[in-house]
Each structure stands twice: as C-alpha cells, then as structure tokens.
Point group: C2
DNA sequence: TTGTAAGCGTTATCAA
DNA sequence: TTGATAACGCTTACAA
C-alpha cells in the first residue's frame, strides 16, 4: 500500500507538502501539485481513509437507520439520500432495526462507535421514547424522517400527514361513501396520529362524524388489517381509509371473502403492489425519494432546528370506486 | 471523548494494560480487568474504532454491492448476511449500483479506500467482464453471489438455475402446455444462461423442441416482457417460462390485453407481488436469505475457492393453470 | 502480569 | 510556498 511518505521521498519533498497537494490546499505551488498528482497516479496511491479519519476526528460515513430496507418507502428514501450524499463525498452505512427497540439502540451505538459524520433516522415502531437517542448520539448531527420525535434536536423531514389523510377521506366522501372507518396504525408515531386527525377532521367538516367506534388502532400489517376490516363490515362501514398499504391489503382480503358490494378503500404509501393488484388500490403516496434528498441536504447544510414538510399525493385507482366488484 | 489513557491514569496503570484488559487478552490479572471494565463503564468509554482500525490495518466493515436494495431478492440477501455478520462483530456497508457499470466500479473503489474487511458482490447487469474487480479488490476477500464471474477468486454462492428452470418448464409441460417460449434475461449473466439451458433441456427431454425462435433475450423488466410476450403470442406460444418476475408481469399485461385463454406463465424470484396479483403468478423461488447467510459465512470462514449451490423452489399458483382466465 | 516504546498514515500548527 | 514536528487513539513486540 503506497503512502504519502513514499510519494514525498520519490519527489524529494515532505509528506506535509504531498498531503496539502492531494487535499487541494491553496498553499502549494501549481508545479508541485502537478508533480505530486502525477507521481501518486504513477504509484497507484490511495488515501488511507482510516488514518485520515483518525487525524480529522470524523469519518465520511453517514449512518441511516430504518426499520427495513425492503419496504419501498425506505429503500427509496435511501436512494434519495444516497444520491445527495455520494455527490458530497459521503458514504451511507445502512442499519435495519426490523422495528425492534434493541436493534435501534444497537444500531445507534454502532454508528457512534464508528464516529459517523451524521445519522439519518426513522424510528422502529417498538420505540416509545427518545432517551436512547439522546444518549447514543450526543454531539452527532441527527436528521429524523417520517417517524420523528419532536423533542429530539435537528431537522425533521415529515409528510403532510394531516392534509393527506384529510384529502384521502374527502375523496371517499366524494365517491358517495358515508360510513367511513379507519385502520389507524400505532399512536406512538406522530405520523399515524396526524393521519387519524386528518381523517376525523374530514368527517367532521362533512357532517359525517360516526356513531360508534370505527377507528381500528394498531393495525399496520396484513393480518391485523384483515381482522379490523371484518369488524368494520360488521359495524356497517361502507369504506375505510387505511394509514398503511399492508393493512389495506388485509382489508381487501376481507372484502373479497365476503363478496362485498359498494365498498371503498384508500391505503397509504403507494407501495408498488397497490398498482399491480386487481382491483388496484387507491393510495396516498408519500414522496420518499424527495424525503431522502431533503434529509441528506439538511445534514450537509448543518441541520438547523427545523421541520421540512414533503407533500403527499393521492393516487386514485379502482379500490375507491363504488362500482368496483369485490370478489376473488 | 474518553480514551484508554484517561482510564489508565484514573487507575494508575498504563494504556497498554487497559487496552489488553478491554480486548480480552489473557495476559491481564483478573482483578485488573474488573477494575478497568468498571472504570470504563463509569467514564462512559467507547473504543475509537478509527484508531483501532488504523493500528490493526483493517476495518470491521464488510461491503455488500448489489444492483438495487428494493428488489426483494437483494434486500433478503442483505438480511441474511447481516444476521451472520453482526453476530461476528462486523458491520455491513451497502452499496447500490443501479445496474450501472461505473457505479459498480465506484462502489468497489470506495470499499477499497475504506479498507473494508471483505466484499460481498452481485454484479450489475451492465458489467461484462471482471477486470475492474481484480483491479479494485486485489488482496481483499471477495464472495460473489447470484450474478458471479467464474474467473474471479473466492467463494461463489449461486442457485441451481439449471435444475430450477428445468423444473419450472417441466411443470408447464405437465399442465398440458405444448409450445413454451421463454423470456430469457441477459446472456452476460451465468444465472440467466443456465436458466435458458435448463428450459431447453426440459423441452428436449419431453420431445418438445420448438420450431422457430421463441426465446426472447434481454427481457428483464416489465416493458420488455410485455413486448416479448406479444411476439410470443403471435408466434403461437401457449406458455412462457420467464427468467424474471418483472418480465413475467409484463407478459401478463399482454395476456390480459388480448384476453387470452389457456396460457401458462411461470416467473422467477417469487417477488411478493406474485402472490398478490390476480391471477396470482407461479414463480421459481430463490432462497435469498440463505444465500446471504452462506455468503457471510464463507467470508468469515476465509472464503476458500468454492461454489455453494442454494436450491430453488417452484411455487405453483394460478398463472400456470390452464383454467385460469386472463382478463383485465 | 505489567510497563515501555514505537508506529499505523495522515493532517494541523507553527516556523522558516 | 515548504518543512519540521507533533498528535489523533490505539495495539503490540519486547523488556522488565
């Protein structure tokens, strides 16, 4: 492995000069710089990142902590962040928590131990408070996205969940549905809370506040969506706004089992399967690639205390059309 | 940031002793070790990984290079590798190539510059030869998986593509289909070549070698699958074995457009949308989690020159049933 | 069992 | 514009 010392010896200068030349310092004669670059290429020199990082006291790695990379939302956030960060000379170290609290703790410790330059974080569902983050990341720039804790420092990147859910619910009302329930996700997450509030507000503004409980909490996966939808059918619902696509998928399972007529569904996240299903699923699309870009930019810009809202977009497909026939 | 020197001072010993105590060396008195561990906890010490790595000449990061993380195959490989590597004290640095050659080159350079302990690699489709890998990774342990170059050193983890494609094609024959085409992927990749050979062998063994060309190369995404399927229909095919799920999806688009009867399709990879579609898609499942585990274990074991075959499994659903009705 | 000392390769500070 | 020097924090021969 070639070092700057060897380059220096070959050229009869000191390592300091070589270091300056290679890191683009202005305090180097143009001739010298060219000679150094030439020789470095010739010898196949590559900077030892570990040594450089040690000396500089920081690494060029940015950690991103997500529940699971195979969720399209998160892989697209990663794509957006990666595009911006690579451009700026950073590398992305991806950690998955699989929605578990201890995995999130471990991931943050690992990142801290590796002295990462910053952390982009979307919390695991199991996480209820932010103490572990404060402990693990003091001094390390933090940007939260999607699932954020307001009491943590740094930039937060969120969707306009309230407005989005309001629009999705209003769309169901416009389609003629009148008893609209919701599959509401976990109330430990701000995003889900806001979607629930947007849903409620839409009903209220249209004079459709429900009799009886047709809000189903803690539904986020297919199975729980299925169970909740069966209850919703029994409760006389004719539509559901679901705060997630997978729970909406479970609900559709229930509709098909019962061969229901005139029932509307809108999911949230616009996972690609929503377009592939039959009937296809209407869904409130997030904008993950843009959220990833914004998160990375906020980190690079130095993460001032702020909240950036990335708008959602309602994608209308067959599942919110009253004419749609639900059968296997 | 607390250092071993501070711990040493606090205890009246030297940094070497602290270092030994914390890294589990046997050359330390049990009392001393306890005292050191105690004090380290007390002061909130965390090893500076950058310094440690510099001194040891290697990092505890393993790089994994994949085309795209949101493909379920790859995110599951990553999950399997992660499980094994975390257990062994390594961290995973994930790089995406988006199927582009220059991104693969850049990723390998980045990993080399970071002095990663090893690299797990599945090549981008654009990559035609292995010279760039040899150049970038000389001296770094390499494990290839799925898309491998036989001429590179190190362990290769592959699927039994020939046997799998043979089984998938035979299944279509058993279902009564007689003029079976194939959407064959890119012949620059061993995996696709072997699937094509398995398909051909199955036809041959059943006396069904086709008249005319019904092998469609370079089909891997939905659009090209759609185009190829239209040609296959015009060529009188009554079934298709597709070496990928996305191209099979495009083919199904074509079947639905033409409202075809009695047409069988089997895809490859068992992406989760295959189960969600209607009609659902039969698919030749890979075993990505196991492949990731095997790749990581091969790296840890020291990657001898060998090839590990992970078996595929045919998942039979509606698309290969002659009774299935194809309509929108 | 512990201490001494050197050095991993780079960069920052100061002086020339 | 360049050089000398020290230091980042840790590990590891070797010596005691």
């Amino acid at each position: 492995m070639v070092t700057i010392t060897e380059i220096a010896q070959a050229l009869g200068v000191t390592p300091s000069t070589v270091s300056r030349a290679l890191s683009g310092s202005p305090r180097v004669k143009e001739d010298t710089r060219r000679a150094v670059e030439q020789k470095a290429r010739e010898l196949g020199y590559e900077r030892n990142v570990m040594a450089s990082n040690l000396r500089k006291g920081r690494s060029d790695i940015v950690g991103i902590v997500v529940p699971r990379i195979h969720r399209e939302f998160f892989s697209n956030v990663i794509g957006g962040a990666e595009a911006v960060l690579n451009e700026a000379g950073y590398n992305l170290l991806i950690c998955q928590t699989y929605e578990r609290f201890d995995a999130e703790v471990k991931a943050l410790q690992t990142l801290r131990n590796n002295r990462v330059a910053g952390v982009l974080l979307s919390h695991a569902i199991e996480v209820q408070g932010s103490a572990h983050v404060k402990e693990a990341l003091s001094g390390i720039p933090l940007v939260q996205f999607d699932r954020v804790f307001p009491d943590l420092p740094g930039t937060k990147i969120v969707s306009n969940n309230f407005e989005g859910a309001y629009e999705a619910t209003t769309h169901l009302i416009d389609q003629g549905f009148r008893r609209i329930g919701t599959l509401a996700g976990y109330m430990t997450s701000e995003a889900y809370v806001q979607r629930l509030q947007g849903y409620r507000q839409a009903l209220k503004d249209h004079g459709l506040e429900p009799q009886g409980r047709i809000e189903y909490l803690d539904t986020i996966v297919r199975e729980t969506g299925h169970e909740a939808a069966l209850k919703a059918l029994d409760a006389g619902c004719d539509a559901l706004y679901s705060a997630g696509d997978f729970s909406a998928l479970g609900a559709i399972d229930a509709l098909k089992e019962r061969c229901v007529h005139r029932f509307g569904i809108v999911g949230t996240a616009n996972e690609s399967f929503t377009a592939l299903m039959s009937p296809s699923m209407s869904s409130l699309a997030l904008n993950p690639y843009e959220m990833g870009r914004q998160a990375a930019q906020a980190f690079i810009a130095g993460a001032p205390e702020s909240t950036i809202v990335v708008p959602m977009e309602l994608i209308i497909r067959e599942s919110s059309n009253p004419q749609t026939i639900w059968q296997k």
